[in-house]
Symmetry: C2
Subunit: 672 residues, 2 copies
Amino acid sequence: MTDNNTVTTLERIANLLRIHSIEATQASNSGHPTSCSSMAEITSVLFFNVMHYDPKDPRNPAADRFVLSKGHCAPILYAAWAEAGAFPVADLKNLRKIDSDLEGHPTPRLNFIDVATGSLGQGLGFACGMAYAGKYFDHSAYRVYCVLGDGECSEGSVWESFAFGSFYKLNNLCAIIDVNRLGQSDPTPLQHDTETYRKRVDAFGWHPIVVDGQSVNQLLAAFKEASELTDKPTCIIAKTFKGSGLKGIEDELDWHGKPLGDKAAENIAHLRALVDEATLVRPQIPKVTAKVPELKKDKQIKLSSPPNYDGKKEIATRLAHGTALEKLGKGCEYVIALDGDTKNSTFSIKFRDAFPNRFVECYIAEQNMVQVAIGIATRQRYISFVHTFAAFLIRAADQIRMGAISFTRVKYVGSHAGVSIGEDGPSQMALEDFAFFRTVPNIVCFYPSDAVSAERAVELAANYDGAVYIRTSRPNFQILYKNDEVFEIGKAKNNKNPKHEHHLPRYRCSHLNKTYKEVQRNSLVDNSHVLLPDQNIRDLTDVYRRDKHFLEQQSNTTSQNQTVIDTKQAENFESKYCVKENYYSIPCTCDTSFVGRIIQNFFDRMKFGVEFFLFMGDVIQHRNQFVEYNYPFVPHSTCSNEMATLNEIRNQLNTRPTPVKHTTTSTYYDIH
Amino acid sequence: MTDNNTVTTLERIANLLRIHSIEATQASNSGHPTSCSSMAEITSVLFFNVMHYDPKDPRNPAADRFVLSKGHCAPILYAAWAEAGAFPVADLKNLRKIDSDLEGHPTPRLNFIDVATGSLGQGLGFACGMAYAGKYFDHSAYRVYCVLGDGECSEGSVWESFAFGSFYKLNNLCAIIDVNRLGQSDPTPLQHDTETYRKRVDAFGWHPIVVDGQSVNQLLAAFKEASELTDKPTCIIAKTFKGSGLKGIEDELDWHGKPLGDKAAENIAHLRALVDEATLVRPQIPKVTAKVPELKKDKQIKLSSPPNYDGKKEIATRLAHGTALEKLGKGCEYVIALDGDTKNSTFSIKFRDAFPNRFVECYIAEQNMVQVAIGIATRQRYISFVHTFAAFLIRAADQIRMGAISFTRVKYVGSHAGVSIGEDGPSQMALEDFAFFRTVPNIVCFYPSDAVSAERAVELAANYDGAVYIRTSRPNFQILYKNDEVFEIGKAKNNKNPKHEHHLPRYRCSHLNKTYKEVQRNSLVDNSHVLLPDQNIRDLTDVYRRDKHFLEQQSNTTSQNQTVIDTKQAENFESKYCVKENYYSIPCTCDTSFVGRIIQNFFDRMKFGVEFFLFMGDVIQHRNQFVEYNYPFVPHSTCSNEMATLNEIRNQLNTRPTPVKHTTTSTYYDIH
């Protein structure tokens, strides 16, 4: 099938790549030369025979894609690109140096890298996204290749991607598992049991091909076989040896992530003889032959029509998000939406119904969904909007982190945020999400407070050249803004005094440190409305129980709803149950009548010396009167104090290590 | 095999549980009765024939365990426990009420629940932990059952757990997949393709049994078969129908998470006829026959010997952690350690070598590792220490979140924290970890600054009745504390003025807002040491490049290391590249000589009006002289400002949306 000369040349190049991997890691005195060696033939065959690409134009949208999921093998990847002509081979020895972009793990700071890897188990999902875009959006013939380590196949995210790849029949996708048997600290669980890999891959709907991964011949045949499939992706299970070709090192434990040290010279000499570089003629790299459609891009992406609310009907921000996304899709053909089987809750279903060909159902696999979204968004072609409950977005925290290192432009949309999901319980409530998203480099976080600002958040997100988090809520809310209100990233609005804009992220609520009475006097709230520590629905129960328990122990209780209490008692209560600063915010619950009563009781006792701390978004507009300090857009660095306070309160009030014994409502337990 | 009477009774109980599920969700006007109905027979057979347990002592350590991975089916789980006698059946109608612990998703606030579920795909990992403890720690005959939904089988964490269960031959574990075909918004990807489920389960090393999940007979036979296996876990693939037995609802889409509404009465009447409750004799629940060893527990868990450092040799906190964990293991037989193939980096290997039977290698599957740790720690028997790189712990963020709702006592140990991992690149650096861990309810976070405090952190963690995060670092550090130093949770120390303790979490660094000169005058730093924005190793590169680029554009540069610069230029530089507040902290890098030079240049220009912001831990002790503001223990709420600042700086300095084109050191790019 393939002539001997081709095979020999690719074998020699494989050894040349081994040499570069050894030399670079010697120079940096760190790195993973043995993990590189096991994939030397795979790399040689892919980069010098199989893949169609242009080393001088590595981001060519019609070129084949390559993803190195086992990112710690960066040295051999850099070596392949250098040998292909992307940059001078001499630069390889700058690996891991402080002033070089040839970092220990690849990132798109290098123009031949599409996605950052180095946190294991993510590459295949990125590749799935690229292949999905190739097959269904670009309708192009380019192919996607992804090399995985065997160790990382323990990551569940890998199997999410396997399931995705077969479900969507991504025959343009080829994964290669480098089964080199050895992990970092031990052999991998399956070691060289390629038959089990074959069974798993087959069961997950891929076409498995088991090969000797050190055999150029077998690899060439396998890639050919893969390219001929029409209905499913291929997975080449390559049996290899860690440190393959390295004397005294091959297939030995304890060589993970270590340069060869004093074993380097001997091995390099041996490999040099095999390469015989003086006579090596590098093969022509296959030219890019696939075509991709040009995407017409406007400078500014706009909603097809402005928000259109009459101000009478309450609208949930999640619904407004869906409305806006659909409008965005009308004007912009490169907007894509993904959802994890929650589209009828997040309202991404509105986009799906309008543009079924630009919607990707990812099922309940958030990690893979984010990976696919990042893959789709590579090479700056498509803008992905990812949807699920905000609580479950954090399942993909590591993927979102890696996305930031990849400079991704993915927009994350988390619905059902905060306590307003009420009766479903804490597992469904996103409370931690903001603290995490704040730390994502370069991200912009939106927490729109009404339908108008939600629609504009979507529009601003599409135009922001980076990742965005949009946090939406379940309940219907009143409309706070006029349909033509103009919003900007980094600016909050003051509804009571529209001219007083809060410039974020420097804004802090310190001027809200007033007592309840002062606040009342200043008409920030009126008497009919009450405040409560910001917490989830469970806390309300606790407060109620504690409240009742407390009241039961007092003799001067006059009625269920009216409590007369002396200051001393109240102080004791406060010191026992409340955080020192007495920060409180406005409650959000689905059972307002009931909660209203609790809150009233609570604040009847709490109206001395309490400082206020207004929480954001859904909390605020849930009770219409509290719109004064309403943050339509909350950038990443604004809510650190809020989150800390929320957490402190919750720590004290919400969770207790000792669970209660009873489930009836007649028993009240002590708060520890 | 089984008499007709038993089968008929279990069928009638299944319908009774259906009725309860409908009635409870009618009362709460929310919930998932159709998802409950598909698993009615599974529940009936398990709770009234198969499982050995005591409804009056649900946390009996020798009883069989049950985990409802599809937590939204809480109503039928509550119904089973109520019918078994754990609490009054009448209470079932308090489902989801604000003053009831019968929440929308189960939590261990209920004494018959071991782990909170509701975020999908986690139950099987918890069950794996319970089964591992049963087989290898308790050496007991109790069995573990876990019901999964088919939708959640898209979660990769489920397949991590399948791989774990077979690798450790957990024949005491039985999973049941309720293949009811329908997800929330669409059919599941595999619908009723039970053959593919069978192949996947088989490939992952479990014993698969495909049954009609609505057939009591087939379920009874399957559970019997499962109990007879000796070398692998069993997975029963139960073909069922969503809304099974409910007229006009069974197998129909759009019935996810909805009460039956006006279809309830008719269906209840129909089911009541089938149950004929008046003549129903509930079977005897199989008694607990397994035995578990009693664990001798001391009131205080202590290191077997105090820290023992001579103060001359530098020691990494990760190594000190390993040392302490080994010491802890000597004195306390119920300490368990887990690692994700990083044990030679986290130094949990020291514990493994000393106590191989109490160490669980979880391979590269962080989600399952945390789930297993939580499962092992249930019923308050064992204390699990989980280990991996801090950067990869966040892979299990959702599991850690759910662990908090479960009141788990798991101790999370993340190594290689912060920028000190240097040349490996940002993917390996844990920078976001603290922001996330801070939000975990009730957690205590330790960031020990030297070996002595690291050892004591481990001891304090073991004694804290809740989750703990211990953040360790890679480089060797000097010893700061005497071996007999006493540490307490919530108190930081001031090394310069040992009597001045910082009481955390209220401590803020505001008094450090001094100019560089002022700081110098106050001898907080001396001239030979220099400061830099806190950032990862990439930033240093940026600073260097910018620095050099900047210097190249200046004519008054005298030499590479000495820069004379006028104030105006410096101001321009500052306004362009630096965050407004000018917060800086102390660098941490592996290339100190090189960085030292950069920093000196940088601060030669920066020594006007710069305010200082000291970051914590590894940053501080990395340069010995900066020990004055050293935080041995950083509780959860301390570092909000630090993180915000770190992030702001990083956003401006570190990441740019446009990647550079070149990899050589000769090209400098503009900062956007």
